[in-house]
């Protein structure tokens, strides 16, 4: 009797220990939350973030559990969503739009033991880091292609809001284009929205009817590429590879890749080595990549792109290295120097070659 009882006790204790170990393992799974500004869809800003999320889930299989909420408008709604995620046990939360900055900071204060990463922001805190990609590196390279392929010397740019990030992209594109074609000029139309396919299409059509034969965009839908394909012009896609929508039109795409960053950050939280940092990575670190280049682009152009890319990677070339003139002809960067990160972050003027002026 006694031995049976003690075997039973032993078995029960083993079961308890096993249960504890299992729950401990389950409890060890890091819950990672993602707040998206727009629907994931087939392509675009949010789509790329979600690809990064999926890659992270795969790379850290068994160690992380993710959840995303899409279509969260900026403002008080965002604060509620971020807070709900934190409250529900998500210890690492990525907020993927500039407009989430203040809501993220507010919620971070309420949950000091959780970690927050805010995309494209500029305010750090004890438990808030920021991250952004050096889109302008890809823009410069794509500009080389656009400048080489244009026959009308007018390049079209469908842009969302006149913020430094967008202006930086326009400037880098222009510099790249004019490095191979000094006659190229860039026309910009502002649609005042990150995602509005109707307006993006209308803006693209307006650019094309005003002479642009290569268009690119800093907006979130596939409309510009679709329109270019329809009208028989070229396009440079942004965020995602959109060749599916413009097989003949797309010359290349400036792709955003978040898989490495998301994996690295989640691992850091798991290892308890996370630090609040302003992370700004580019081609070298694998956050920016050009999509496969359309075969119509001549080999010598591709060679120039490769050369520039290599220069960026090994640090011998910077897209914003001098001499650079602004629209009035004044030299803003001297030969032998290049713009610092700080100057890039606050960029609010056009370089020579961009038509029109920055909306005030």
């Amino acid at each position: 009797m006694r031995s049976r009882k003690s075997i039973l006790t032993l078995l029960i204790s083993l079961a308890c220990v096993a249960g504890l170990v299992l729950t401990a393992q389950a409890a060890d799974k890091l819950k990672v939350g993602f707040v998206y500004i727009s629907p994931i869809g087939d392509a675009g800003w949010t789509h790329q973030h979600d690809l990064g999320r999926q890659a992270m889930e795969k790379n850290l299989a068994g160690k992380v559990e993710t959840k995303y909420i899409e279509n969260v408008p900026e403002g008080p709604e965002a604060e509620r969503v971020i807070r709900d995620l934190a409250k529900s046990g998500y210890d690492l939360i990525f907020t993927t739009s500039f407009g989430y900055m203040n809501p993220t900071l507010k919620v971070a204060k309420m949950f000091p033991k959780k970690y927050f990463e805010h995309a494209t922001g500029y305010k750090l805190a004890k438990n808030v880091g920021t991250y952004m990609c050096r889109f302008y590196e890809g823009r410069y390279l794509s500009g080389i292609i656009a400048g080489s392929m244009t026959k009308s010397n007018t390049l079209g740019y469908v842009a969302a809001f006149p913020i430094p990030e967008v202006i930086r992209g326009i400037n880098a594109f222009t510099l790249g284009a004019r490095s191979v074609n000094p006659k190229a000029e860039v026309k910009v139309i502002w649609v005042n929205s990150w995602f509005d396919p109707g307006k993006e299409r209308e803006a693209t059509e307006a650019l094309i009817s005003q002479g642009a034969d290569v268009v690119t965009h800093h907006t979130d839908s596939t409309a510009p590429v679709l329109t270019a394909e329809e009208k028989g012009k070229y396009a440079i896609a942004y965020h995602s590879d959109m060749s599916k929508y413009g097989p003949k039109a797309q010359l290349t795409a400036v792709m955003h890749l978040y898989d490495k960053f998301y994996t690295k950050t989640a691992q850091a939280v798991l290892d308890h080595t996370w630090k609040p940092e302003a992370v700004w990575t580019g081609i070298k670190e694998g956050s920016i990549k050009l999509a496969p280049i359309n075969p119509v682009v001549p080999k010598d152009v591709i060679a120039k792109v490769d050369q520039a890319r290599q220069g960026i990677i090994d640090g011998t070339f910077h897209p914003f290295q001098g001499p650079i003139k602004d629209q009035s002809g004044k030299e803003v960067v001297a030969a032998g120097k290049h713009l610092s990160d700080k100057e890039l972050l606050g960029m609010n003027y056009y370089v020579e070659g961009v038509l029109g002026s920055v909306p005030k």
Partner: protein
Amino acid sequence: MFVKIEPRPEPSRVMRYCSPLLAALLMLISGLVIFTLLGKDPGQAFYAFFVEPVNDLYGIGELFIKAAPLMLIGTGLAIGFRASIWNIGAEGQLTLGAICGGCVAIYFQHSDGWYVLPLMMLAGAAGGTFWAAIPAWLRTRFNANEILVSLMLNYVAILLLALLVHGPLRDPNGYGFPQSILFSDSAILPILFEGTRLHAGVLIALAGVFIGWILLEKSFIGYQIQVAGLARKAASYAGFKYTKLIWIGMLAGGLAAGIAGVVEISGPIGQLIDSISPGYGYAAIIVAFVGRLHPGGIFLSSLLMALLYLGGESGQMNLDLPSAVTGIFQGLLLFYLLAADFLIDYRLRWARPAREVA
């Protein structure tokens, strides 16, 4: 056997109170059906949508934050609706209120005075009232339909806000994003309870509902409005000037909406951005109707509407329910209410078809 529609000899008092409840019940039942069709467990979905958002103090605070603009605007609109004055422009009026209040906040950004908030409220009230005065004037002077004018002005107001936030009112240190500076503390509504976001604006909303109740139920103007809504000719025989009522009806809505707009930007938002309202001006119309144009009913229906908003978000978080479900529920609620209201003035009777006499 068929169903005959028969007018009641006098409107049913029972149905007058029951129809909102009936409508809410039908909406909930529809909700269970929708959840099931979506492949979710109806009980779980029901809990996530209707219970989970308010099961803690923070949640109740959120409920009142969402309900505050709705009950305030709803009350203001009800004053006009009772007299058949259809102010559809609440969305634009609240935008103008926010713009005016926001300008005051930006102007006084470096000051610490107690006077900043009250000044903002005044400015907001003035802005909303002004925006409602336009359709009121065009109606009384030119007989222009106030539904269409106030509706068009909604769009003008929203575009005006976008214009200002992209340009003159933009934060110079905001990296070019379309938003104003973050308001300083003197321009932010104080929080009432620690641990929630419940702010003083809720008190303002409650005060507004109370004032509206006094106006509608206890004052002579309220009486005039009621009569004018029921029987226009009788009202004019009694000497009630309809033009005066048009002004009061429109301006009440504008005033309420303007204040609600300032409350939004000095409360949860804390600055001027280009989209300050998820359609509160239109939702308030539903709130007014479901509340039977009575401030007490409006208070309750605003809480229900707020719950629908919160439920939509909670459903997205916990059940992967799409946020679009909220709009469906709101529309259904009003549909059912309008349908149930039918039973106030009419009743259904089973009747046999007349038989041929052999």
